[in-house]
């Protein structure tokens, strides 16, 4: 699956004929679009089944993103609990609707980076009335893939982590499951 934010990032940039580079690092993949020798856009991402992805995309800015099968309302902020094997934290994400699907942009990319330790990162999204959407992503290969994209983006003078624009927040048989 080509990550949708990468599509957005590429759509948002202009330039002459582009070439593409793709690579895989463990469970992670990179996709870099070049304009000549310069990086025009890029993404590093992994998936947790069809329609569910997590990664970083660099277009005008470089930002983390999540793709969830749960529809969201464009421009609305959602909260989730993110967990790595050694840390947990509440995060807020803004929904961005694109023609190819819905993406969720964490408002604090630096906090996401802090949680990229260990071998997995998981997100619990409350759906209301006791239900959750749980997405878990392997971090096997994440460091190399993220370095390949973010590192290059920084080298070329790009900005990392889109700033929060302060939009209003909104919240969206019984058993146990481990997800």
């Amino acid at each position: 699956m080509l990550p949708l934010i990468a599509l957005m990032a590429m759509a948002a940039t202009t330039g002459g004929p582009a070439s593409e580079q793709t690579q895989s690092f463990g469970d992670w993949h990179t996709h870099i679009v070049l304009n000549g020798a310069s990086m025009q856009s890029g993404s590093a991402y992994t998936e947790d089944g069809p329609g569910t992805g997590f990664g970083v995309a660099c277009g005008r800015v470089c930002t983390y993103y999540l793709v969830s099968p749960i529809p969201c309302v464009d421009g609305t902020e959602y909260k989730a609990l993110a967990a790595s094997p050694t840390d947990t934290g509440e995060i807020r994400l803004r929904c961005m609707h694109l023609d190819v699907g819905d993406g969720l942009i964490p408002q604090d990319g630096a906090r996401i980076e802090e949680l990229l330790t260990g071998d997995t990162i998981s997100f619990a999204f409350p759906l209301g009335d006791g239900q959750f959407n749980i997405s878990s992503f392997s971090l096997n290969g994440a460091k190399q893939a993220l370095t390949a994209v973010i590192g290059r983006w920084k080298q070329e003078g790009g900005t990392v982590h889109a700033p929060d624009d302060g939009s209003k927040a909104a919240d969206p048989g019984l058993n146990d499951t481990t997800l």
Binding site: K79, A124, P126, D129, G130, S136, D171, L174, D176
Partner: protein, 178 residues
């Protein structure tokens, strides 16, 4: 009424209560009631309102001198460790911290937050983070209002001579259509 339960002592009491329930019929002085999917159990100075889901996990409000919300999963935790969870009802979702207490093979998570204001009808979901994964438990809230109100009232009746001890609130009163 037995007084002075707090912190781990309170949870040792829960563990003993659970073990007693598992081991033998209720003692003569035990008072039990059923409110929808919730149960109350009043004995030995402990006032417990709880529900059990299909996975035999238990969520409840336990009062002695203080009241605390607690969770029991069929999952071990590390004594004294703090865990983060997302709790989710029809009306709200929030991140809370829970502390693990262990008594032999009984593991109890104490909520460090007052969940009363968000407990109404429908279901409660708890997504508890364990080592980078989530353990999700869902509980019916049918009857929670009456059950928690019953034990808090019983506790207050029992300790009428002392100042109000409750630091946690029971679920809010349900709208009555009478």
């Amino acid at each position: 009424m037995r007084a002075g339960w707090a912190g781990s002592s309170l949870f040792r009491a829960i563990a003993l209560m659970v073990l007693a329930v598992l081991a033998a019929p209720a003692a003569a002085e035990t008072q039990t009631q059923v409110y929808g999917q919730w149960h109350t159990d009043i004995s030995n100075g402990l006032f417990d309102a709880f529900t059990v889901n299909n996975a035999k996990s238990r969520f409840g409000l336990l009062c002695s001198e203080k009241c605390v919300y607690y969770l029991m999963l069929n999952k071990p935790c590390k004594e004294g460790a703090r865990y983060s969870a997302m709790v989710n009802t029809a009306g709200d979702a929030r991140v809370v911290t829970l502390t693990c207490y262990r008594d032999d093979r009984i593991y109890i998570f104490r909520f460090e937050a007052d969940l009363g204001p968000i407990l109404a009808g429908g279901d409660l979901g708890v997504a508890l983070a364990f080592d980078g994964q989530f353990n999700v438990a869902t509980f019916s809230l049918t009857g929670v209002i009456d059950a928690t109100r019953a034990i808090v009232d019983a506790q207050r009746d029992s300790a009428r001579a002392t100042p109000p001890p409750t630091s946690m609130t029971p679920a809010p009163p349900a709208p009555r259509g009478r």
